[in-house]
Amino acid sequence: MTPETLAALQRARAEKRPMVLATRLADGAQRLLPDPAAPAALAEAAAAALAADESRTVEIDGTAWFLHAHNPPLRLVVVGAVHIAQALVPMAAAMGLGVIVVDPRRAFASEARFPNVVISHDWPDEALDALAPDVRTAVVTLTHDPKLDDPALDRALKSPAFYIGALGSKKTHAARLKRLRALGHDDAAMARIRGPVGLAIEAVTAPEIALSILAEIVAVRRGAALAQKLAA
């Protein structure tokens, strides 16, 4: 690998651009994609590797290439700078998620409570509009306050976010679904919300609940059988 290639990979990472490092295994020749000058077959295979978020060896015209997918980190949008968020945020960061905390209540969403985290004091609907959740984004609402949770969930449901979770008991969740239905969301859309949030591990403490949420995000991300149960 040349220093120039390494620098380009690091730049792409800093700018959160997806990139593939393609290595011709026979001689170690390398090129970066996307690249308008790349042969179509290689460009297509590289795009597929990024979409699947999977590095793989492929054969193109009898030549073996290793396609190393470098995707930007998954994002986690945490709505509600509450106590559970204080446990969730550092654990999520340690897992490599890019975390954004959203809470217009400055006393909660303070730098003292959330050091070294991106914080948005916008209202959750505006914050989510600005963040534009994509297929590599998870959204979790933790406020227990419909004024804050509902607009966030409304926007999350209108996005392709791969994970949407909402803290609250079954009763709270049922009431929440009623309100979201009034906003025009149908059953199929609302089935995307994981509520009560997290894998059922009988979590009690804030870190335990954070663990159950992160475990569920991993389960959904990796297509684990465990992730199926809440869809029912």
Partner: protein, 113 residues
């Protein structure tokens, strides 16, 4: 949030470390898992950086082939020639390096130069 923490795509931390070592004047080789079969512990794309002075960052296995990969990396640093290593299942013979877990991996070794 730590900007360096980067699971789900942790291989990139290894690149940062490799870049830092190179900037400090070290000779650095990179090893990357390119293919796996069976129950190999690390997925394709997992990286290990090795310096001529013996520092290591990242991993290409649970630890079972790191030594052999590091040796190959040293040779690549000497010759400048990249190579594709093939590791299979461990056999009873002590001189064979392999994966005790029963998996197989291919590892590409190159110099950062």
């Amino acid at each position: 949030m730590s900007e360096t923490a980067h699971a789900f795509a942790e291989a990139e931390d290894v690149l940062s470390q490799a870049a830092a070592w190179r900037a400090a004047g070290e000779k650095v080789a990179l090893a990357t898992v390119t293919e796996t079969w069976g129950s190999s512990p690390r997925p394709a794309g997992s990286r290990l950086a090795v310096t001529a002075s013996g520092h290591m960052a990242g991993s290409v296995s649970g630890g079972c082939i790191e030594g052999a990969v590091a040796e190959a990396a040293m040779e690549t640093l000497r010759t400048g020639v990249p190579k594709l290593l093939d590791f299979g299942v461990t056999h009873e013979r002590a001189w064979e390096v392999g994966l005790a877990c029963g998996g197989k991996v291919k590892v590409f070794v190159e110099a950062l130069a």
